[in-house]
Each structure stands twice: as C-alpha cells, then as structure tokens.
C-alpha cells in the first residue's frame, strides 16, 4: 500500500510506553525491592481461576444465544442486539447496583423466591463475581460469535440443507473453532484486571484479585516494587493467554453487519424454535432486567442532580469524542500495518493495571508539567488506550477484507498511501469503523480514567460526579447521574454505529 511505516511503529511505541513503560517508571521509582508474598500469589491464583470460569461461562452461554439470534427473526431484533451491548459499556458500579437490584438479598429474584415460599439465595462470593463478569461480558461473547455465524455464507446453509447434511458438524463447528478462542481470550483478559466487581461481590478477602493487591501495594504500603511486579505478572499472564489463543486459532473480528438476517433451512423444528426463544428470553431477562432497574432508580434521582451535572456532561462528551478520535486513528494505523506484533501490542492495554499505568504516567509527566493540568489529556489518552483493543478487533478484519478485495485494482490505478486510505479503505470500512467509534465513545464515556493521582481542579467528568454523589450520601442523585451516563453512552454508541451504516454501500 506504500504507506510509510513510521505511524504504525509510533503507535506501537506509544502503546508499549503506556503499558510496559509506565510499569518500568513505577519500578524505577521504587526504593526497595522485595519479592511477592504468599498473599500476592493467592491473589494471582484467584484472579486466574475466576477469569477462566467467567470466560468459560460467558462463552458457553453465548453460543446458544448467538445461534438463536442468527437464525430467528422477530420484531425488535435489531434493537435487542444494540441493547445487549449495554452492559459492556456500563460503569462498573452502576452495573453492580443494577445486578443487586435483581439478584441481591432484597432483589427481585429473592422477593420472588420468598413469595413462592422458598428460602433466599445469596450471590455474594465466587458465584457473584462470576455472575457479574458474565453479565458484563456475555454481550461481547454473543457479538463475536454471532458475527461468526453471520459470516457463514447463506449458500452453504442451502447446500447443507439440500444434502441433508448436519449443519453443526459441517459449518458450525469449524466456525466456532475459529471464533471461540478469540472470544474466550478477550473475556479472560478483561476479567483478569477486575477489581471493583470482584471485591464488591466477592464477599471477602477470598476474592482478592491481583488488581486489589496492586492497589494495596501502591496506596497502603507505597511498595512500588511490589505493584510493578504484580503488574508484570498480569502482563505475563496476558502474553501466555494470547499466545495460546493465537496458536489455537486466529481471532475473528466482531461487530459489523449484525442486523443481517440469514435465511436458514435448518433448525425449523418446533422444539428448536422453543429452545432458541428460550435462550433469547433468558438472555434478555439476565441482561435487560438489571438495566431496567438502573433506569427505574435513575428516573427518580434525575430531579436531585446538582447543576454541576451540565459542565460534567460537557466535559465527558469532550473527553469521549477526543479519545474516540484518537483511538480510531491509532486503530486504523495499526490495522493498516497489521502483523502479529501489532496484535500482541494491542492486547497489552487489556492487561494493564490502571493504577500502575496511572502511577507510571504520573512519574513520567510530573517533571514536565503540573499533573493537575494534565488530568484531562491523560484521561483522554488512557481512554483511547483502553478502548483500542476493542476498536482494533473491529477495524482490522475490515481493513484486511478491503485490501483483499481491492488491493490489485488500487495498485493498478496507482492509489497509494494516504489517497488509498481516503478513497478506498475508509469508505470500505465505514460500518465497522462506525461501530468501533461507537464502542470507543461509549467506553470512554463511562470510564473514570486514571486521574486519581492527577488531581483535578473542578474538572469532574460525569462518572466522577456520580462517584462523588455516591460518596456523600446522595445515592438518589448518583442513580440519576448513572442514568444520564447510561443514556449518553448508548446514544453515542447508537449515533456512531448508525453513522457508519447510513448510505453505506455493501
């Protein structure tokens, strides 16, 4: 494509600086060195186990749901698929409160059980951690797997039907083999850095994750060496997991074209329809009910919102849009460059401990400028970084496809470099680009960023305002802020996603 190689190299360098570089900076500032203790290793063990189980269950449940969505058509299917993405972009505490409104001691489930004369169940503990992680990541898994299903050409289903061949063995199993490792890996990595979910629902110190151990090391003990070591363990786990997964199968992209419906000739028996709709209903209840509770609580709190919610919204939107632009630019550059090194580098943010990144950035930034002034720029960069793995996974396959289809024509016409990107690539990847933008915008909308250390001077973003409200007894107003946050995140997602589709040529 005759693109210069430096932009890709520069983005990879920035990625490495922000992930491994910040870790090195933290280590550099450490003034003592000791190894990891027994408790640290217990945290590593728990973290890996819960991440593994969470990923396994998310993917396992996602398979029948995705299959059902791929072969059934019903009114509101498109809307449902959009809404299914909501938990993924929800700030963690909002989601936890929503989940507890359904599964908590006082939640809908227990009220129903009580009404039926059954004894209450408690979700706190390992099961609660896994439940919450499945809630967050099931939508991601469904999307990735659904994408795999929709990528099977309709003709193959027709062929299979005409031969009376088993669709599962012939078409679905190879597809799943290609898609599942990638889906599993993504979710495993996301759960690896879990902190608040694991702690709040974990029920006690048994549920100590590596991220909490890092937190303790930095905040309580100021043991920067231990924090850096723990962060290095997280990166190590990521690299092992990524290698294993790449070795089993190359991850597929996910995201675009999910509103496509494929006419299927199999699975039309009545019991299959019942099973499919059963799974769809289950997924809807599981994912949408907590959201509904968030909305119900929030509506009541809207009137309690302080007027500072407006500047907070403005700031959050500005942060979200800027980091989206940054994230897309970086993703595009990386996707155009391609290669396995890029893939590994782009998985690193998933495993980065935000506290270590924040501390490292602080150490790097502070000599040059007042960290308070850097708070918003740093938030923007961090949000872009954290959304990058997701945006890249959407955009890269699309870029590859555009190149596979049109590289020769473009080469013959002398379309090179930036002109090639502008005239050929960008228009070809509009849909996934829009989807990636929506994802990045929504993710950074709900992200608190790593500004804990970058003291702010009246610069709250919406999530920060929500936490401040929650931290000063104003739970109703906090619920209102959570609703505004949810609404804005979904609206941004919808707008970008839509923008990519309108007038897009097949």
């Amino acid at each position: 494509m005759n693109l210069p190689r430096w932009p890709g190299a520069a983005v990879v360098a920035v990625l490495l600086l922000l992930t491994l570089g910040t870790l090195a900076a933290v280590l550099w500032r450490a003034d003592s060195f000791s190894g990891l203790g027994r408790a640290d290793w217990a945290a590593v063990r728990f973290t890996v186990i819960q991440a593994f189980v969470s990923a396994l269950l998310s993917v396992g449940f996602a398979i029948p749901v995705a299959r059902a969505l791929s072969r059934r058509r019903f009114i509101g299917r498109g809307l449902l698929i959009t809404l299914l993405g909501a938990p993924f972009i929800l700030p963690v505490i909002v989601a936890v409160f929503g989940l507890l409104a359904v599964f908590g001691r006082n939640g809908l489930l227990n009220e129903a059980l009580q009404w039926l004369g059954l004894s209450k169940v408690s979700i706190y503990g390992f099961s609660g951690v896994v439940l919450a992680h499945v809630f967050f990541n099931l939508p991601l898994a469904v999307r990735m797997i659904l994408q795999g299903w929709l990528a099977i050409p309709a003709e193959r289903f027709r062929l299979a039907a005409s031969l009376g061949a088993p669709v599962g063995v012939l078409l679905e199993r190879p597809m799943l083999r290609a898609v599942l490792p990638g889906a599993f890996l993504s979710i495993f990595l996301i759960c690896l850095t879990s902190f608040a979910v694991a702690l709040t629902l974990g029920g006690g110190p048994k549920a100590t994750t590596v991220e909490l151990a890092i937190y303790q090391a930095v905040r309580l003990d100021f043991a920067l060496d231990r924090a850096a070591l723990l962060a290095a363990v997280q990166f190590g786990l990521t690299i092992v997991a990524a290698t294993v997964s790449f070795w089993i199968a190359l991850p597929e992209g996910f995201g675009s074209g999910l509103d496509r419906e494929i006419t299927r000739w199999d699975g039309q028996k009545a019991w299959q329809k019942i099973v499919d709709f059963g799974f769809i209903t289950l997924a809807v209840l599981f994912l949408i009910l907590p959201l509904m509770m968030v909305i119900l609580r929030g509506v009541a709190g809207l009137s309690d919102l302080p007027s500072s919610v407006w500047p907070a919204i403005g700031r959050s939107l500005a942060v979200a849009l800027t980091s989206t632009a940054l994230c897309l630019l970086a993703s595009l550059v990386l996707a155009l460059r391609g290669g396995r090194a890029v893939n590994v580098a782009s998985a690193l943010p998933l495993a980065a401990s935000s506290l270590v990144v924040g501390t490292g950035l602080f150490v790097l930034v502070q000599p040059w400028m007042n960290p308070a002034k850097a708070a918003l720029p740093v938030t923007i960069v961090m949000n872009a970084l954290m959304a990058l793995p997701f945006a890249l996974r959407v955009i890269e396959p699309a870029v590859n496809k555009a190149e596979a289809d049109y590289a020769r024509l473009s080469d013959m016409l002398g379309l090179k470099g930036w002109a090639r990107v502008r005239i050929v690539i960008l228009p070809r990847i509009r849909r996934p680009f829009g989807f990636g933008a929506g994802l990045a915008a929504a993710l950074s909308m709900g992200d608190l960023g790593v500004i804990a250390l970058f003291a702010t001077e009246k610069q709250q973003t919406l999530p920060l305002l929500m936490y401040q409200l929650l931290g000063s007894y104003r739970n109703d107003a906090a619920a209102g802020a959570a609703l505004v946050l949810l609404g804005l995140s979904l609206a941004l997602f919808w707008l970008f996603d839509r923008g990519g589709r309108v007038d897009a040529d097949a």
Partner: protein, 229 residues
C-alpha cells in the same frame, strides 16, 4: 511487442515456463484448463507476481522492476473492477490519477459515451446491470490508455450474449495497431470469435501463439484433449 523472455514461474509445486512474444495490434487468447496458470501468467505481466527467472519486456525494455501502476499495462480483473462506494464517473476518473475530482473531467464523459453509458455518471455500480458494470470498467481501461491490456475473464459472469457483445466492444474500441491485448478465457468460442492468435497453456508450458483460424482448423492433440474432440 510484448516479450516473455525465458520466463520461469514457480509457486509451491506449480511451475510454468514461457518464452515468446505477442504482437501489437492483436488480441491473443490464452486458453487452457483451470489451474494451468493463465491468471498467474497475467499477474507476472501486470506486476502482482514475481517470476522466478526470465524477463518481461515491452518494446525491448524490461518492465520487471516497475510497480503495477508504472507498467504500461491495464487489467480487467475477474471481479472487483469497480469500487462500489464511488460513482461510475469517479471510478472511471481514477484512470487519470488518484483524485476523485477527476470524475468530472470531460474525458470521463467521453469514454462513458463511447461504451454507451451516457447519463450514468452519477450512479453507483450497484445501480447498474452486470453488462453496464463491465462497460464502465472498460471505459476506465480506455481512459487509462495503456499499450498492454490484460483481460482476466472479466466477462465470465455475464450471459453468452452479453459476453459476445462485450468482446466485440473490446475489439472495436480498445484494439489499436499499437496495443497488445491478452484475453484469458476458458471458452474456445470466445477465443475463436474475438482473438487473432491463440496461446495454449498446458503441461507447465505456454505454447507460442498461433493464428486462431489455423489453430482451430488443425487443432493439435493438446487442444483436442482440452476441447474434448
């Protein structure tokens, strides 16, 4: 004159040799069974595949080290000849350079009218029939005005009637005394009808082109086998 000088092409187990010249002012059909390497041979000429040894020369000058867009070659591929997100005019205009604004160049309209697409400038490919899409692609090749034109079964998705029409259009509009056209086809009728000479590809060798009438009047064994006679 396009010369393939002791060309050796290998790709895994596949091997193809060619040593011959194609005269300007003629359409040469390349025919042979699938997998014989017809398209691969074109890829070596238009610069997408590098031969193992030997040279490709145009008018006595080697073109092997030139990028695809620098070669005196225009190609119509089997598919994806038009960008679906651009209008017909923009697609054709790209022949003049990597700018969409060339779509409004008067020469674009001229070429479109030459292939019978007057008034279709603003349409996107999806709103054109298969035959019209082929014409639009042909208009771009006309506008590129390169001395070597490679046709890699570009009309194979069209019905027989349309295909004939397109091949006639190629001969009437594209064939000039100083242009050399290579047509890959698996249909002997296309070759018989539209080409001046035919080069058979089989057994890892490209046979030198033979005048079409002569070949079909007195088919060698290889052609007989291929034709099933």
């Amino acid at each position: 004159m396009l010369t393939l000088d002791a060309l050796e092409i290998t790709q895994g187990d596949f091997r193809l040799g060619a040593d011959m010249s194609f005269e300007a002012g003629q359409v040469t059909a390349l025919i042979g069974p699938s997998g014989a390497g017809k398209s691969t041979l074109l890829s070596v000429v238009n610069g997408f595949f590098r031969q193992t040894s030997g040279r490709v020369l145009w008018q006595g000058k080697a073109i092997d080290d030139l990028q695809p867009d620098e070669r005196p070659v225009a190609t119509l591929f089997q598919d994806n000849n038009l960008f679906p997100h651009l209008t017909i005019a923009q697609n054709v205009g790209l022949a003049l350079g990597p700018k969409l604004s060339f779509g409004s160049d008067p020469r674009v309209a001229e070429m479109l009218s030459a292939v019978g697409l007057t008034g279709m400038e603003g349409r996107k490919p999806a709103r054109l029939s298969g035959g019209q899409q082929s014409r639009a692609a042909l208009a771009r090749v006309l506008l590129m005005d390169r001395p070597i034109v490679l046709l890699d079964e570009p009309f194979s998705a069209l019905g027989p009637g349309l295909r004939t029409e397109m091949l006639d259009l190629v001969r009437s509009k594209l064939l000039t005394p100083d242009r050399c056209i290579l047509l890959v086809t698996h249909d002997p009728d296309d070759a018989r009808r539209s080409s001046d000479t035919v080069a058979l590809i089989d057994d890892s060798e490209v046979a030198p082109p033979v005048p079409t009438e002569e070949l079909f009047a007195n088919p060698p064994e290889r052609l007989k086998t291929y034709l099933g006679i």
